[in-house]
């Protein structure tokens, strides 16, 4: 690649300044579109284009736009930065240790992208100039619709049938229902028990410690806790005990309230 003379290196005559001047950024579909338009102004085949000159034109254009303080989309600035980099790669000789892509490679890449975009545009034009359905080519204007008469074929499996039957027989047969008897701590009970347990203790003690002996039966845990908690709130309201919790979901501490503390 380095052997072949790359004609995009050749510096063509710099573009006339006003060539760039009347370019209107609004009319472009992004930086690649702008570059393609600038390239066409070189009036040569894209393969023979001077990428260096193109980059300079683009950068000059962006510079002009910015001088006029016109808002410009970030896409254009990213391309400008990339082209500035490309320009530097093209002008600075490549060191042997250089890991980065050569200027020629970057230039070829840009050229490829321009050619590809142009090709897709040409393809779109070719597509649109084909004899299109509804414009030059027509389908039957009076299609004769097929009248469809639908008859339903019902589907059910023996399994579905049996399962359904069993389910409803079972549903219909279980008529006796004995609700599970559960022991429930009444609020009054809980309150009595709490008052008895706390007694005269002014120490902070977790509620669960007080209730330890009642919490052994799993079935009763919920009702013991719930009723005790509700009762403890009542006791706090009455000024008989203090409650404290230091963290969310942490243990609930309680102690007898000293009569003289406010």
């Amino acid at each position: 690649m380095t052997e072949t003379p790359t004609n995009w290196f050749d510096t063509p005559a710099p573009p006339a300044a006003d060539d760039v001047m009347y370019v209107d950024v609004d009319g472009y579909e992004g930086p690649l579109d702008l570059l393609l338009d600038l390239a066409r102004r070189q009036k040569v085949d894209l393969a023979a284009i001077s990428v260096l000159a193109l980059s300079e034109q683009y950068l000059a254009f962006i510079e002009k736009v910015r001088e006029k303080r016109i808002e410009i989309a970030a896409d254009y600035l990213v391309m400008a930065a990339w082209l500035a980099y490309l320009k530097s790669r093209l002008m600075v000789p490549r060191a042997p240790s250089d890991e980065e892509p050569s200027g020629e490679m970057l230039a070829a890449m840009l050229q490829f992208r321009l050619k590809r975009l142009e090709a897709m545009r040409q393809a779109a034009n070719q597509l649109m100039s084909r004899p299109r359905l509804g414009f030059q080519v027509y389908a039957r204007g009076m299609p004769e619709p097929i009248q469809i008469q639908r008859t339903s074929l019902w589907e059910a499996s023996l399994y579905d049938l049996l399962k359904t039957y069993s389910a409803q027989r079972e549903r219909g047969s279980i008529t006796e229902y004995t609700p599970l008897q559960r022991t429930v701590w009444s609020l009054q009970d809980a309150r009595d028990i709490l008052q008895r347990l706390i007694g005269d203790s002014f120490e902070w003690v977790p509620m669960d410690t007080y209730l330890a002996e009642y919490l052994t039966t799993p079935a009763e845990r919920a009702t013991v806790r719930a009723s005790s908690f509700a009762s403890s709130l009542e006791l706090v309201r009455q000024g008989k005990i203090d409650l404290r919790q230091t963290e969310t979901f942490g243990p609930l501490f309680m102690r007898r309230r000293k009569a003289d503390t406010p």
């Binding site: 027509y138 389908a139 039957r140 204007g141 009076m142 004769e144 619709p145 097929i146 009248q147 469809i148 008469q149 639908r150 008859t151 339903s152 074929l153 019902w154 589907e155 059910a156 499996s157 023996l158 579905d160 049938l161 049996l162 399962k163 359904t164 039957y165 069993s166 409803q168 027989r169 079972e170 549903r171 219909g172 047969s173 279980i174 008529t175 006796e176």
Partner: protein, 212 residues
């Protein structure tokens, strides 16, 4: 090119244009509407008649409606444009429940079906099952009101792959397959479906009730 060849070529060209116009038009066309597309001096009606002749034996014919012309499917092929389509649909739960009760409890009246289901059964459900060809009216129960009794059909056996109604699994089999749980009242019974023509408590349907 002889004059004859030339005339033929012009005619063919005009015929092609007529074909395309008539094909693409959304409504029948009058000769005057088509004439503007043809070469000067063309006899549109004559050309249309030529075209009509050409298509006379085809699957599509050129027909004249009042003074307008249009392509239409040949009359003898009209059947192509009508199609019967079958779509498979699964039965609703209500229909499946009703069907299974009729199957096990037949001959069953509507009141009996409702008693097992615990809800009223819409008339539509039984109609649907009869339409599907799985349920039929068997007779009338010899009780006040003489309610209609329902039973299953041969098509029912066919569809569910049963040789006879006695192939319907009984209590033990339903339990064994896990369809019925073990926790059932001991007095639960699964009836043996009645397979015969009429049971002693059934009267035949009146003459005009038997359809089909």
């Amino acid at each position: 090119m002889t004059e004859l060849d030339e005339r033929t070529e012009i005619t063919e060209r005009n015929l092609r244009i007529l074909e395309a116009l008539l094909f693409a038009s959304a409504e029948p066309l009058a000769p005057s509407q088509m004439a503007i597309y043809l070469g000067q001096g063309a006899n549109t009606v004559q050309l249309l008649k030529m075209l009509q002749q050409r298509y006379a034996s085809r699957g599509v014919n050129l027909v004249q409606r009042a003074d307008k012309w249009a392509f239409r499917t040949a009359e003898d092929l009209g059947f192509l444009l009508r199609r019967e389509e079958q779509e498979t649909r699964s039965l609703s739960r209500a229909a499946l429940e009703t069907l299974s009760i009729i199957a096990y409890h037949q001959p069953a009246t509507r009141a009996e079906i409702e008693e097992v289901r615990g809800v009223a059964t819409g008339k539509g459900t039984i109609d649907l099952l009869m339409e599907a060809g799985w349920v039929r009216m068997r007779g009338r129960r010899r009780t006040p009101g003489r309610p209609v009794t329902y039973g299953t059909t041969e098509a029912f056996l066919d569809h569910f792959g049963l040789q006879s109604l006695s192939d319907l699994p009984g209590l033990e089999e339903l339990k064994g397959s896990g369809l019925l749980s073990g926790r059932l009242p001991p007095d639960l019974q699964i009836p043996l479906p009645f397979d015969g023509a009429l049971r002693e408590d059934e009267d035949p349907l009146d003459g005009d009730e038997t359809d089909e």
